[in-house]
């Protein structure tokens, strides 16, 4: 098969990439470094350091970080338990765990809202039991809950994949040489699962850092994450330059983070296709 001929087949895609990935980035950067009159400025880029924006950035990172860690903590035991269990048809359990990922995410957040809102299901049950209603919604906790609920399957999948695919004979060899269960966990399973955890982190941390939908629905609009501020610049304040500047800063932040955690999206994408 002629290599140079098949290389030509890629041309439409290359054109698409240039037209719809590269050029738009160029435009957002241009918008970011100009002001409403078109003259060059870096005020949009330095805007991230203003008090308001800084607060939002820190809040976004904090909430995202906590959510990611929670996802890891929740997923890991699932993987370990499934691994050591004798459940046949682990595929089916995997399938059921991953299924919510494919459901529309707005609907899922909606459902969560119904459960934790002030006259939602949890509070209703508490009232029935004669207890005080809890203020669950419109708190940072609600946002974390929403993010964990939304992104847990994205962490589950790669973590499960990596832990379930550790060959049994490696573990047997470790035991043969004297490892006890804790030792096997920390010295064998943990290191081998880091790849999966890394994939999961990229799939959870970055979307949750740049979130605004969950913050709006479950945070009642009172909690401002960076994503919210950017969105408002485009829909309410109409300050597109500032919005672009903040976005570009965010983009840089995201790119750096993803380089730190490695780009394992390839395996995850293939894994997502079940």
């Amino acid at each position: 098969m002629n290599r140079s001929r098949s290389r030509l087949l890629g041309v439409p895609y290359i054109i698409w990439v240039i037209g719809f990935t590269v050029i738009p980035i160029f435009f957002i950067i241009t918008k970011a470094i100009t002001d409403s009159n078109g003259s060059l400025t870096i005020s949009n880029l330095t805007a991230i350091f203003d008090q308001l924006h800084r607060k939002a950035l820190i809040m976004s990172v904090e909430l995202a970080f906590i959510s990611t860690v929670l996802c890891i903590i929740l997923s890991y035991p699932v993987a370990l338990i499934l691994r050591s269990s004798h459940i046949r048809r682990k595929n089916i359990i995997l399938f059921i765990l991953i299924l919510p990922m494919w459901m529309n995410f707005i609907l899922r957040i909606l459902a969560m809202q119904m459960i934790i809102s002030n006259n939602g299901i949890i509070n209703h049950v508490l009232k029935l039991m004669g207890m005080e209603p809890l203020k669950l919604i419109n708190t940072p906790g609600a946002i974390i809950l929403g993010m964990v609920y939304d992104y847990l399957p994205y962490m589950l999948l790669p973590v499960l994949n990596s832990i379930l695919s550790i060959p049994e004979d490696i573990i047997e060899a470790a035991k043969d040489l004297g490892s006890d269960r804790m030792h096997v966990l920390t010295r064998i399973i943990l290191p081998l699962s880091l790849g999966g955890v890394g994939s999961g982190v990229t799939m959870v941390l970055i979307p949750s850092m740049t979130e605004f939908v969950i913050a709006n629905i479950l945070g009642g609009g009172k909690i401002q994450l960076l994503g919210n501020i950017i969105e408002q610049e485009f829909t309410v304040s109409m300050n597109w330059n500032l919005g672009s500047g903040l976005s570009v800063t965010l983009m840089a932040f995201v790119l750096i983070t993803s380089f730190i955690f490695g780009r394992h999206k390839e395996e995850t994408a293939a894994g997502l296709a079940l």
Binding site: S6, W16, L110
Partner: protein, 265 residues
């Protein structure tokens, strides 16, 4: 209580966590009372009024149309692109792989805004702009589903076909395509799902007149949730479930065309 039982309880709890909200939606879709917490009896009225609600149904068709069209377009461009990338030399290959990853690494909000800024220059925002945006974020998934299949391809089967007299195109279609096909199909399905699930990018590139389910619901949330939404959620859930089951069936065993079950030693 043994460790094993504790383990099973833990998994059950996680499953409960994941599915409880969905279950609530499904139950409420049949609730005659509009209340979230009071059961007013079984009814299908929300399903009928769902179908009669023109804005919801409009958004539904838009969503499906977008999903299918963008999946189709991105599958075609993506297949050709994957073959092209696969045939590249090291340098080009690495550059294209990086470029392919960009939409996936980049936050949705940044991609959406970037596309918006570019589109407003020459395109009225509407169905077309959203379609283009959807194709753009679907392409990486399609390509990343097909590339591994290309890498695992047995090129000797292709040579054997040529050796036996097949023309190059015939050999490609009959021998290589079947090996790549699972990747193409899973890419297509991923594209449909990503498209149906998307909110942020659609939000920024749709303009005023177009709505997908996600954007419609988001808009309605401020006004309060109509029970038709519950019915909608239930329907969507079962569609997705059905789709996923269909995808994962073991087809060759079912159709028994070739006898894969007997194993010789």
């Amino acid at each position: 209580m043994t460790g094993k039982t504790l383990g099973k309880i833990y998994i059950a709890l996680i499953l409960l966590f994941l599915y409880a909200p969905i279950a609530v939606l499904i139950v409420l879709s049949f609730n005659a009372s509009r209340s979230r917490v009071v059961w007013g009896g079984f009814t299908l009225q929300w399903y009928t009024s769902l179908v009669e609600n023109s804005s919801i149904m409009g958004a539904l068709w838009t969503t499906f149309g977008l999903a299918f069209a963008s999946a189709l377009i991105s599958s075609v461009i993506g297949l050709l692109g994957a073959i092209g990338i696969y045939s590249m030399r090291r340098r080009g290959y690495q550059i294209m792989l990086f470029a392919t990853n960009i939409p996936m690494i980049n936050a949705d909000i940044v991609t959406g805004i970037a596309l918006l800024l570019w589109f407003v220059r020459f395109l009225p925002l509407g169905f077309t702009s959203v379609l283009l945006a959807h194709v753009t974020f679907n392409l990486p998934y399609v390509i990343l589903c097909i590339l591994p299949k290309l890498r695992d391809m047995d090129i000797y089967q292709y040579e054997a076909a040529l050796d036996l007299g097949a023309g190059e195109l015939y050999a490609f279609i009959r021998i290589l395509m079947p090996q790549i096909l699972p990747g193409v199909l899973s890419g297509f399905l991923m594209a449909i799902t990503m498209s149906m699930d998307d909110f942020v990018i659609t939000y920024f590139t749709k303009g005023a007149g177009v709505n997908t389910l996600s954007t419609l619901i988001y808009g309605e949330i401020r006004k309060g949730i109509k029970p038709e939404m519950y019915a909608l959620s239930t329907v969507l859930f079962f569609i997705v479930l059905l789709l996923l089951i269909l995808v994962n069936l073991p087809y060759d065993r079912l159709f028994g065309k070739i006898d894969t079950t007997r194993r010789d030693l």
